[in-house]
């Protein structure tokens, strides 16, 4: 449990650093996207606001957890529960298969209308295949 507490403390620290650096990130984003289109600026800001919101909620949650031994044990159980991990594993596997099939179907259909969209979807598929190959090679070596 002590190791887990240290892990949560580290997470809380990273999360709070992310929160405190939000102003710098905001101005950096403003500077980097000053020549971008309205859509581009809006998208960047939207993503930043979303990430910031998650970071703030996460920080508050983690610090509250660290204050209570009961909450810490509950989080430990929730994160290390083997059924939850099995669900996570199954969900990831199935999701990647379904997404890949969807993207492949999209690539085929879009090929009839727009070559650019088809090329982007094919690139996404190739990237997914590359990531899967790399991950498989990594786990083949480490497991």
């Amino acid at each position: 449990m002590e190791d887990f507490k240290k892990k949560v403390e580290k997470r809380a620290l990273i999360s709070s650093i992310l929160c405190s650096s939000s102003l710098a990130v905001y101005f950096a984003l403003r500077f980097l996207t000053k020549n971008a289109s309205d859509f581009g600026q809006g998208l960047a800001m939207g993503v930043w606001i979303g990430m910031e919101f998650v970071a703030v909620v996460n920080t508050v949650r983690l610090f509250a957890t660290l204050k209570s031994e009961k909450a810490l044990k509950e989080l430990y159980i929730k994160e290390n529960d083997e059924r939850n991990k099995a669900i996570e594993r199954e969900t990831s596997q199935k999701s990647i298969i379904i997404s890949s099939v969807g993207i492949a179907a999209g690539a085929i259909v879009s090929g009839f209308f727009d070559v650019k969209v088809c090329a982007v979807l094919c690139a996404v598929l190739a990237f997914i295949a590359l990531v899967i190959t790399c991950m498989r090679a990594y786990y083949n070596k480490t497991m």
Partner: protein, 81 residues
């Protein structure tokens, strides 16, 4: 794979939450185990057996085991003889 977790738990008058806390899993995992919807890992099976003071074989029932059939099929294959 069937198990006798519910049987042993009720005999020892332990609630699902108490068992879950002792095994460091969620109550939902205990419910799924008791309903036979989820098969425990070797680690969890060992922990559960230790908790009830019985052997893993006593707590978990391996019946019509495909793994054993597969092992037999491999071992009986002429290649491995």
């Amino acid at each position: 794979m069937k198990n006798k977790i519910q049987e042993y738990r009720k005999a020892r008058k332990v609630t699902q939450q108490e068992l879950a806390d002792a095994l460091s899993v969620t109550r939902q995992t205990i419910i799924s185990l008791e309903n036979g919807k989820y098969n425990a890992s070797l680690t969890l099976a060992h922990k559960a057996a230790q908790f009830f003071g019985v052997s893993i074989e006593e707590l978990f029932v391996f019946e019509g085991d495909e793994n054993i059939d597969l092992a037999d099929a491999i071992l009986n294959n002429p290649i491995f003889r």
